[in-house]
């Protein structure tokens, strides 16, 4: 019997992207995977701050604080990020940088000219907090358009999407662990994003910045968010992690459909 296991992996956005579909290998699935890879690479070429030709790099090079005209898709991404920045009380940010501290969103988009201006020369645009979520959302849409009903997408173990269900069950069961805490989540047409310290050379190191203080957040908590949208899950897990307890409820109120877990 042919196993109904289609699995592919690829290094994308400096992480491991994995797609699992409980179907037999076929040329159609192969070309679908290739399309997902191509689209993810296109996204990376647009938003990566590491790629010299990306729109992000062009904006970041505008340290003379003059407006940088960007393409319309990139501009719409920036506008969406701005609205999430507001919905998360400023804790979701696509801007980092050294002092002087970034105040507000850090950049100013101008819809009329489709241009972005850095608010000061120390600002760096960085889609790190949302890039993988965008890629997973894009991949999920491609799967659906192509009539795939069941699949699991895992991007770097932190941005996960369960389409439909496990072949032997009613959902995709996954667990997330933080130290001695383990919690199971049921994914069915839903995304999971986790935020916390990340492991580097077997050490836990902080990597999320609190945009209010400009400092790395170093708590042992792990935040898990379940959402219908991989982008929202990723935005919310990062901002809840970055925000102090006192601000978390205010953020949560703006995302009534999302489930938030603290491990």
């Amino acid at each position: 019997m042919t196993q109904k296991l289609f699995y592919r992996s690829k290094f994308l956005m400096y992480s491991r992207f994995e797609l699992f579909i409980p179907m037999e290998e076929s040329a159609e699935l192969e070309s679908l995977f290739q399309e997902i890879v191509d689209k993810t690479e296109q996204l990376e070429q647009l938003i990566s701050k590491f790629m010299p030709g990306s729109e992000t790099s062009r904006v970041n090079s505008g340290t003379d604080l003059k407006p940088v005209k960007v393409n319309s898709f990139f501009f719409s991404l920036i506008e969406q990020c701005l609205s999430y920045h507001n919905l998360t009380k400023g804790y979701f940010s696509i801007c980092t940088g050294k002092s002087p501290l970034i105040s507000g969103f850090g950049i100013t988009p101008d819809r009329k000219t489709q241009s972005i201006t850095l608010n000061n020369s120390g600002v760096i645009v960085d889609f790190g907090a949302v890039g993988k979520g965008m890629a997973v959302e894009q991949a999920m849409e491609l799967l659906k358009i192509n009539g795939i009903n069941h699949a699991l997408i895992n991007f770097g173990d932190s941005s996960v999407y369960g389409l439909g269900s496990h072949p032997n069950g009613d959902y995709w069961p996954v667990t997330i662990t933080n130290g001695s805490n383990t919690r199971q989540f049921r994914l069915k047409n839903s995304a999971l994003s986790s935020s916390g310290l990340h492991v580097s050379d077997d050490k836990l190191v902080p990597h999320i910045i609190n945009p209010e203080t400009g400092k790395l957040v170093n708590t042992n908590e792990k935040i898990v968010v379940i959402s219908h949208s991989p982008v929202i899950a990723e935005i919310l897990s990062t901002s809840i992690y970055a925000a102090p307890a006192s601000d978390r409820n205010n953020i949560k109120m703006n995302f009534p459909a999302e489930e938030i877990f603290i491990l």
Binding site: Y14, G128, S159, L192, H207
Partner: protein, 425 residues
């Protein structure tokens, strides 16, 4: 890729553990797939018997093999032979005078009760000694390359077949644990479809041995003269050509090459640098080069498939795509077994530092310098005691040697050579 994630590896190591001591698992070779446990010193039951071995050629390589054989319980060195007295004395000293010494191998074959002979003479003497050995009814281990000419190789293989004896060529990578692991991984499709192999062997020295008096130059430095040797081809390249044959489970159909003396212009006749392309069926190429005026890149065989790369001398495996994460691997295993259970995903958010570029993994961590020169002799003793020829070994030796010699011919004749079908075993 973590070692645990190389599927099949655990099984394979399990097998190795069962045959600890020496690796004699020739499975995954594309040849035989047989486990030659009889040749293993730890597991083989030789009923207390030892192979009675004579050694012809006690120069630097022969004495190196002598030292190794002293540590192998299934080998008893009865006699040694060399027609150059200082070398014979070196061999005798290693054995503390416990073996009879000869200057003529025919006399040794006639007077001693031997099971087997180990031949480590200069290349041009391989054929006469080996042919005499088969006439004397001995099993033969002969250093690479099999012989100086293709015709000699043909007659040696024929003689081994007529005598019904073991004929093993000293291409020790066939017994190297890393190479054997790679062959197993190849069988399990770890690197996918192979489209090219690259090999190189670089050293930085003149390749000369000190000569006590000028008339001995050609005898001592036989490797530098065309009459006795094909230089870098027969002394080094044959190893990697055997590996390419082994990996592709085939032999080359054509070879083109070029070589010259561009550095060591000291009266030698053999090239000090060679560059070749071997063409295999299916349009697959093995590119090889060797030089002795720069050692920066050392020696390597790079096997390139659409799923991954082997660096066989270093024992490294590179995957073209990342291996499954532990959680997803578990999920796939569960589904294969009809299990519905949660799998753990152990990550955190994306961060620039999380660059997980494709790093190579050693296929046998902790095993940096496998002693395959010794293992091939342990195996040979086992084969000799069993008394049955091992045709696959003979074939590997023949095919590698013939391809080596045709490569040398391509260089010297400056033409593309099609290897005759009758010389592809």
């Amino acid at each position: 890729m973590s070692e645990e994630n190389i599927p099949g590896r655990r099984d394979f190591l399990g097998k190795i553990a069962a045959y600890s001591g020496s690796v004699v698992i020739l499975g995954g070779l594309g040849w035989a797939g047989s486990r030659l446990a009889d040749a293993d010193e730890e597991t083989a039951d030789h009923h207390g018997k030892t192979a009675r071995v004579g050694v012809v050629g006690t120069g630097s390589r022969g004495n190196f093999l002598l030292e190794l054989m002293l540590s192998i319980p299934s080998i008893e060195i009865i006699a040694i032979c060399d027609n150059y007295p200082p070398n014979l004395k070196l061999g005798s000293d290693i054995l503390q005078g416990k073996a009879t010494t000869y200057s003529d191998h025919r006399k040794m074959f006639e007077l001693e009760k031997l099971d087997a002979v180990v031949v480590a003479t200069p290349l041009h003497e391989h054929a006469p000694v080996v042919l005499d050995a088969f006439s004397a009814g001995l099993h033969v281990f002969c250093e690479k390359t099999m012989a100086r000419t293709v015709d000699e190789c043909v007659s040696m293989v024929k003689a081994s077949q007529e005598a019904g004896k073991v004929f093993q060529t000293g291409l020790q990578r066939m017994f190297d644990r890393n190479y054997l692991t790679f062959m197993e991984m190849l069988k399990n499709n770890h690197i996918g479809k192979i489209s090219q192999i690259r090999g190189y062997w670089h050293r930085n020295n003149d390749w000369r041995r000190p000569v006590p008096s000028p008339e001995l130059e050609r005898k001592i430095n036989w490797r530098l003269y065309d009459e006795y040797s094909c230089g870098l081809m027969t002394e080094l390249a044959s190893h990697h050509i055997q590996v390419a044959n082994w990996v592709l489970n085939d032999t080359p159909i054509r070879v083109m090459g070029s070589g010259s003396i561009n550095y060591w212009k000291d009266g030698r006749e053999v090239a000090d640098n060679v560059n070749l392309v071997y063409e295999y069926p299916g349009g697959i190429h093995f590119d090889y080069d060797s030089m002795i005026s720069n050692k920066h890149y050392g020696a390597e065989v790079q096997v390139m498939g659409d799923k991954g790369t082997f660096e066989m001398e270093s024992g490294l495996f590179y995957s073209e795509n990342p291996p499954p994460s532990p959680g997803i691997l578990q999920l796939i295993n569960n589904i294969e077994h009809g299990i519905f259970d949660a799998v753990n995903l152990e990550g955190t958010s994306w961060a620039p530092e999380l660059i997980t570029q494709d790093k190579p993994k050693h296929v046998n961590p902790g095993l940096k310098n496998p002693d395959s020169s010794r293992e091939q002799l342990v195996a040979f003793a086992g084969f000799a005691l069993k008394g049955q020829p091992v045709p696959e070994l003979t074939k590997q030796g023949f095919n590698a040697s013939v391809a080596t010699l045709y490569g040398d011919m391509a260089i010297k004749e400056k033409r593309i050579i099609t290897i005759p079908e009758e010389h592809r075993m």
